[in-house]
């Protein structure tokens, strides 16, 4: 596919054009002194210089609350599908890697048509990081840059963007941009410099082993004292899982209309740190102890989910949980490093 260059001014007109088209256009915008993904009303709102968003873009493939079906109480169940074509602007590489991981999870074994419908309706315009956030450590997890999953990848080259269309959808999108010129070798070399710079800049926490060592490390650490030490001050609030781009656990609930005749079944984000996550009928809790729940999350990131997705570590180093955790215990790298101190790999 093709690599173009677009001046920032032309890029702005391109975004304006998208906003006035039929597709929904979502992008990163400021909210106070933080950033969020939200519907764009004007091209001026788009902030591709952001550091990190409060919530990851996973809500566009797995909404906080999503109706799966509707029904009449005595009748048939009907699939609900309201995925709409959406252009998602400004996904950072680590969040793109996270979406790629969820794609693998939701399409494997039993194909999740709800997730996949939203995913297939997305056109993702990723962008390389311009400003590193306080806690980002994507470079430690191999996700400071991203090679696939996006339709278009933007790289800020100062007064212009390098626009890399990686799919047919991406090509079609970029074709709408007036003023695009073919990128020169020099432009592409500049992107390489950005990537190299980000390998350094996006490593605010350094993992003291290879990510591929993590499953083996965890195999030897099940009864390590760190679980209890950290979990002692855990509130079981679930902020670390709800802000995480790779956490995808959900609960399923029903909701009936006031007339008791119709209703819907929906799924909503859930988190394994929450106290009732492993409750079964009869009120038995299979993960009653806080330290067991705390450990489970760290094992999912470093061992359990990787086993489902070809060994990729399920923490992409966005750093959101580090900032979201009030007692300051959620950072997976800190825990892995602590385990490494006591373990021979």
């Amino acid at each position: 596919m093709s690599i173009k260059k677009l001046s920032k001014e032309d890029f702005k007109s391109f975004v304006s054009g998208l906003i006035s088209s039929d597709d929904k256009v979502v992008g990163v915008k400021a909210k106070g002194n933080r950033f969020v993904f939200g519907d764009l009303e004007s091209a001026d709102e788009l902030r591709l210089d952001y550091d990190v968003t409060l919530l990851p873009p996973k809500k566009y493939v797995l909404p906080q609350v999503e109706t799966l079906m509707t029904y009449e109480v005595k009748g048939e169940y009907k699939t609900e599908c309201n995925a709409e074509p959406t252009v998602l602007l400004g996904v950072h590489p680590y969040d793109m890697v996270a979406i790629n991981q969820m794609d693998a999870i939701f399409s494997q074994d039993e194909y999740d048509s709800h997730y996949m419908a939203r995913r297939e309706n997305l056109t993702i315009v990723a962008c390389d990081v311009v400003n590193a956030s306080e806690n980002v450590f994507a470079a430690s997890m191999g996700s400071a840059t991203v090679k696939d999953g996006f339709d278009v990848l933007l790289t800020d080259l100062g007064d212009s963007y390098l626009v890399d269309a990686a799919t047919e959808k991406g090509e079609a999108l970029v074709a709408k941009a007036a003023g695009a010129a073919d990128a020169t070798d020099e432009d592409i070399a500049k992107r390489k410099q950005v990537w190299q710079k980000n390998e350094e800049a996006l490593a605010k926490h350094k993992l003291n082993c290879k990510t591929s060592d993590l499953p083996g490390l965890l195999d030897k650490s099940y009864n390590h004292p760190v679980w209890e030490e950290k979990a002692k001050v855990c509130y079981s609030c679930g902020s670390c899982t709800s802000t995480c781009p790779t956490c995808y656990c959900f609960d399923v609930q029903d909701d009936v209309a006031w007339n008791l005749e119709t209703g819907k079944r929906y799924r909503a984000w859930d988190g394994c740190l929450l106290e009732k996550f492993a409750n079964v009928a009869g009120d038995h809790n299979f993960r009653q102890r806080r330290e067991d729940r705390f450990r489970h999350r760290i094992y999912r990131k470093g061992k359990y989910v990787p086993a489902k997705i070809g060994g990729q570590v399920a923490c992409v180093g966005c750093g959101r949980c580090v900032g979201a955790c009030t007692p300051g215990i959620a950072n997976p790298v800190e825990i892995y490093n602590r385990l490494l101190e006591d373990t021979n790999l």
């Binding site: 169940y77 996949m116 399923v252 029903d254 009928a281 299979f286 067991d292 094992y299």
Partner: protein
């Protein structure tokens, strides 16, 4: 315009099934027999489960209690929450939503040709019955069938007619016990582990299939250890909070095992690396 996979099968969508038989088994358990409205058979293996859905209330995972050798399928449901409570109110002719069958069930290939010993505590008999009756219907596929059955109270026993028929059937040896003495009970009294010494000869070669409340496993496994039953011969059927049933939602997970996919039946020798299992 939506360019999506709406056309694909929706894995969360229940199909309707109609209750064709219903009976209270004791104060807390109702038995129902269902047939799918599509006219198809469920096509399950012994040991699998379904997600049962009541519109407006939700779903719950329920073990299939009947053998695939008979038409329709049986469920036994304890009244333990809003969904199951609603099912208890239902009568013959009422409809439920069904998804599944899910889980891997019993590994029939490995069990083929073996003597089978079922150790059941309370409602642990429910899923085991799917394989017990399967084995009775296919005597050429298995060796001897032995059932150890422990129930807490006399009044909580269920499938009583069927158990009486098993007692009268030479193809199956049934030993029963209840935890607490009762004036109408002349049989064994005590926990199910007390029955284990009575079948000592079976404990080294037979496949031992255990199902009961979480607390029971420890004691049964300890008792079997005394007879040096090889771990590979022991199968446990583990209850978990299944939700999606399809390996996505994370609720059923114990360490790296997704019970809804790889369980709820496990060979005990494989659970060494799964500390959350028992």
């Amino acid at each position: 315009m939506c360019a999506c996979s709406c056309g694909k099968k929706d894995i969360y969508l229940p199909e309707l099934a109609t209750i064709t038989d219903r009976k209270m088994m004791n104060d807390t358990e109702v038995y129902i027999r269902l047939t799918l409205d599509s006219g198809e058979e469920l096509g399950h293996k012994p040991g699998q489960f379904v997600e049962v859905s009541v519109a407006g209330l939700g779903e719950c995972p329920i073990s299939i209690s009947s053998s695939p050798t008979v038409k329709g399928f049986d469920l036994v449901i304890r009244n333990a929450g809003s969904v199951t409570n609603a099912i208890h109110q239902m009568q013959v002719g009422d409809k439920l939503g069904i998804r599944g069958p899910y889980g891997s069930g019993y590994d029939l290939d490995t069990l083929a040709g073996k003597d089978l010993v079922f150790i059941c505590g309370g409602i642990g008999l429910v899923p085991q019955r799917s394989l017990i009756n399967y084995a009775l219907d296919k005597p050429e596929d298995f060796g001897k069938v032995t059932v150890l059955l422990g129930t807490k109270d006399f009044d909580q026993r269920f499938y009583q007619d069927e158990i009486a028929a098993w007692h009268a059937n030479d193809a199956i040896n049934v030993l029963e016990t209840i935890d607490v003495e009762h004036e109408k009970w002349t049989g064994n009294v005590g926990v199910v582990t007390n029955l284990i010494p009575k079948i000592e000869d079976e404990l080294t070669d037979a496949a031992i299939l255990v199902c009961g409340p979480p607390i029971m496993y420890k004691f049964v496994l300890m008792a079997l250890a005394e007879y040096e039953t090889p771990l590979e011969n022991i199968y446990v059927n583990l209850e978990r909070r299944m939700k999606c049933g399809v390996g996505k939602c994370g609720h059923c997970q114990m360490n790296d095992e997704y019970v809804c996919q790889s369980g709820p039946v496990y060979n005990y020798s494989e659970l060494g690396a799964v500390p959350e299992a028992i």
